[in-house]
């Protein structure tokens, strides 16, 4: 068997695909190499929920058989990947990252898993996550069946949540790409903290059938990859209508760079206060440099800010009420007490007490959030903001600790994660620099179903920078 070099673990999907087709390595060789690396390093970052060695080797043999007959099935054919353990995989444990569900085996594959199989991707692993995708809230990174997600750039820091294993696995080169999910920040946060490229699709673009529900009205599933172009290739495979998901928008996404819009036509909003005051001091320089790159690319930048609305209370109320309803049997049975995080346990219990008037008020204010973004997107095409205002937190630090610096008065786009999620908007997080060795990310947010604009900008940004190519010293 050919010895595969370390570079292979940081290759893009297009590079791996070219290597497979040119028979530089077989799919079995590639898959074995990724499986061995995941087995060795996955537990080091608490990234691995389940290794699928036998099944993956079987899939890889099928791919080799196809390739030996020149049956080319598309860009994901033979690419080793992992999925967040909130997606059902028939016949295998699907734990949702939570002890009460540690023995759960579901009967059907999630729709996204089916689509990955159809694209002939090789599923090597299920990836660790924060228990119940974070539930209504949690206090510690350790809120997981597999322990705290550890960051490949510094194991004393968190890999982010709730798609913690997906973020760490891509950053450490344990999979070529991963699938994560986001209710409010769970793709963008680990992507920014781990220095990878993550895409949160428009609500309804990717089917959630067979995925754990946390909040029916806010859950989304998306790719976490090495580059914007990889996100595009994966999104094209997993997006599409599905009658099994009541929220399905019945739309598809196509990877079609030749139809990408000119940057001069994409008016881009930013708020100076985000880059000069909201971001932690060390992150300001890389974020401002990223803004300068976007300007050099020809994007017309205009100053703007998001509508001032109670994003925090609205988001918390909606997620807490829906999560409490979804997990009511868990709460009433008392098994909720088996969860790892006390704040998560009590948040779920208290969520059952949310009054209908409060949930409905939150949903009425959500209408205003949507109206506000609709108005903003009648004037601009894209919003750019820091993906997170800080670098990855220390694993031992409580996530709900108060911020130890003054809060700017101007909202800017500082609430774009809850705001964008309430409005179901797509977003992409791009690595844009480092502070003391930890990655910093910038996010682009667009109108519903404008993923191609975000990916086009991201792809050009990554042609001009190399942050997405940097590797942690493992």
């Amino acid at each position: 068997m050919a010895e595969l070099s370390g570079d292979i673990f940081y290759a893009t999907i297009a590079e791996l695909s070219a290597g497979l087709r040119a028979k530089q390595f077989s799919c079995v060789e590639l898959t074995r190499a990724y499986l061995d690396r995941m087995e060795k390093l996955g537990p080091r970052f608490n990234a691995l929920a389940l290794l699928l060695r036998e099944e993956a080797i079987g899939q890889a043999k099928d791919v080799d058989d196809d390739l030996s007959r020149d049956r080319v099935r598309g860009p994901l054919q033979g690419i080793p990947c992992g999925v967040k353990d909130l997606l059902a995989l028939r016949g295998h444990p699907t734990t949702w990252g939570a002890k009460p569900f540690a023995g759960q085996v579901l009967e059907n594959d999630a729709a996204v898993v089916k689509r990955l199989r159809k694209a002939h991707a090789v599923l090597t692993s299920k990836l660790a996550m924060v228990e119940l995708a974070g539930g209504p809230s949690y206090r510690y990174a350790a809120a997981s069946l597999t322990g705290p997600g550890l960051n490949p750039w510094d194991r004393s820091r968190w890999s982010g949540g709730s798609s913690s294993g997906s973020g760490a696995a891509v950053a450490a080169g344990l999979v070529a790409f991963a699938i994560g999910s986001e209710t409010s920040g769970s793709i963008l946060t680990p992507s920014a903290y781990c220095g990878i490229t993550g895409l949160r699709p428009t609500y309804g673009l990717v089917s959630r059938a067979g995925a754990m529900s946390l909040s029916w009205t806010m859950d989304k599933i998306g790719p976490m990859c090495r580059s914007a172009e990889d996100c595009s290739l994966v999104l094209a495979a997993i997006a599409g209508g599905d009658s099994a998901d009541p929220a399905s928008a019945r739309k598809s996404y196509f990877h079609a760079p030749k139809f990408w819009r000119k940057f001069q036509d994409l008016k881009t909003a930013y708020a100076r206060v985000d880059f000069e005051e909201w971001a932690e001091p060390g992150a300001r320089e890389p974020l401002q440099k990223a803004l300068a790159v976007l300007k050099e690319m020809g994007l017309p930048l205009v100053e703007a800010k998001m509508p001032e609305l109670p994003y925090g209370p609205v988001t918390s109320t909606i997620i807490a009420a829906e999560a409490a309803s979804i997990f009511e049997p868990l709460i009433r049975s008392g098994k909720v007490d088996e969860l790892a995080d006390a704040k998560q346990i009590t948040g779920l219990k208290a969520g059952l007490e949310i009054k209908a008037k409060d949930y409905l008020k939150a949903m009425r204010i959500r209408t205003e959030v949507q109206d506000g973004f609709r108005l903003l997107f009648s004037q601009v095409d894209v919003i750019v903001a820091p993906a997170r205002m800080n670098v990855a937190t220390k694993v031992s630090e409580p996530l709900d600790r108060p911020v130890d610096r003054s809060i700017p008065k101007d909202i800017g786009f500082s609430r774009i994660i809850p705001g964008g999620n309430l409005a179901g908007l797509p977003a992409i997080s791009l690595p844009c620099g480092f502070v003391d060795g930890m990655p910093v990310g910038i996010q682009l947010v667009g109108r519903p179903f404008s993923e191609s604009n975000l990916i086009a900008i991201g792809a050009e940004f990554q042609r001009r920078t190399d942050f997405h190519r940097r590797r942690p010293a493992l």
Binding site: A249, P313, S316, T317, A342, K343, T346, A350, G351
Partner: protein
């Protein structure tokens, strides 16, 4: 009751968190009270925010 020195040492050590371990969490009753307080604060913030009588809840969950 007779307690050995070994048992005393074990009991004392059990109370010392290892490096990197989470700090002691508040008691469960306090946690539940805190969770309820958070919900009450959220509810109050929602009540304070006035919406037009014609504003319906968001039944489509993305801006269109």
């Amino acid at each position: 009751m007779k307690v050995t020195r070994r048992e005393v040492a074990a009991a004392l050590l059990a109370g010392v968190p290892a490096a990197g371990q989470q700090p002691a969490a508040p008691a469960a009753a306090d946690e539940l009270a805190a969770a309820r307080e958070t919900l009450a604060r959220n509810a109050e913030a929602l009540t304070q925010y006035e919406v037009a009588i014609t504003t319906e809840p968001a039944f489509v969950f993305r801006t269109i």
